[in-house]
């Protein structure tokens, strides 16, 4: 390049590569994390995703996108997969895949829904269900780099048993006074539960912590219904639409 100018992300062809499952972590009764060895992986930014491609013996191919849950600092690439009822791909990933198995993957993809420690200002993450995955990459990255910008995770799950990464999140919040993790359990609350027990609404968001004047970077990931509700309410509360980045996924049952 003749000038000291470059685009926000390097121009790199997306190539399919084989990855190998090195470890499988049971997160909840419907969710597992796959830890993958991706030879020659170029690194990624927290929030990016990958495409994966499965090929059946008869040649039929199915392709899906999954967020990366691991931070760039980790050697293995983590994908967190929720088993979707009647799904074509996720039941295979959650139930059939074993350590040592291989499949095709390409990435990292997407420079839009991305946060790194170089981004100034508070970090406000709002997750519904397995939408926590790309946000977890951001929180893990933040923890590995030991930065202390104020951060808040508002995490909506059906029940305590459905909370993904629960112990890790609790431990992170205990270690770091600048991180707050707030759970809301929409369907079932354990006895004596002192947290929120309802869907995200305006009071719940207003209770929380970063008024528009503090210019938080807001990332929302979850089912479409949650993302639309939360982003709409945040705009009503005075947050700039451009500071709110969203990633929706399809109706996986959260709405019912």
């Amino acid at each position: 390049m003749t000038e000291t100018e470059k685009t926000t992300a390097p121009a790199r062809r997306l190539e399919w590569q084989l990855v190998e499952v090195r470890q499988i972590i049971v997160e909840t009764f419907r969710v597992k994390s796959l830890l993958l060895h991706a030879p020659g992986w170029q690194g990624h930014l927290p929030g990016q995703h990958v495409d994966i491609r499965l090929t059946a013996e008869d040649g039929y191919q199915a392709q899906r996108s999954y967020s990366i849950a691991s931070p760039p600092e980790d050697e293995l690439l983590a994908l967190t997969v929720e088993k979707v009822h009647n799904g074509e791909v996720s039941p295979y990933l959650v139930e059939e895949l074993r350590v040592g198995d291989q499949f095709q993957l390409r990435g990292p993809i997407g420079g839009y829904f991305v946060w790194t420690v170089a981004t100034p200002g508070p970090l406000w993450l709002i997750a519904g269900g397995s939408g926590i995955a790309p946000l977890m990459a951001m929180l893990r990255h933040r923890a590995r780099r030991n930065v202390h910008n104020p951060a808040l995770l508002l995490y909506s799950s059906r029940s305590l048993d459905d909370v993904i990464y629960r112990e890790e999140l609790d431990a992170m919040a205990r270690r770091d006074p600048d991180l707050r993790v707030v759970h809301t359990l929409t369907r079932k609350q354990p006895e004596g539960w002192k947290g929120y027990g309802r869907r995200i609404d305006k009071e719940l968001l207003a209770d929380a912590y970063f008024p528009p004047g503090r210019n938080p970077n807001i990332f929302i990931c979850g089912p479409t219904s949650l993302v639309e509700a939360a982003s709409g309410l945040l705009v009503e509360l005075g947050h700039e639409p451009l500071t709110i980045k969203t990633e929706r996924f399809g109706p996986s049952g959260w709405a019912s």
Binding site: R64, V84, S90, Y112, T246, R248, P251
Partner: protein, 93 residues
Amino acid sequence: MTGNDSDLVLDGNAAAGLLQEIFVLEITTAQIQCEACGSTGAVGSLRLHAAPMGAVLRCPHCDASVMRAARTPHGRWLEMTGARCLRFLAVRE
């Protein structure tokens, strides 16, 4: 993001794989201007209607269709009637 079904409404970011097969520069952060209402935003912030063969990307402000991309056995299609321009951001270091 877990795209487990067809015909989903998602964010433009979810079409990144399909679009990035075509573009050399990062596409989700590129700024696109809607012909219909004139608003400008990142491709990743468009509303994506995803179907098995491809994607329709709509303006989040006026719902006009600004990009359509498809992968067919005969090749890839990208149609951008509805978009005024696409700007790839550069940063100086």
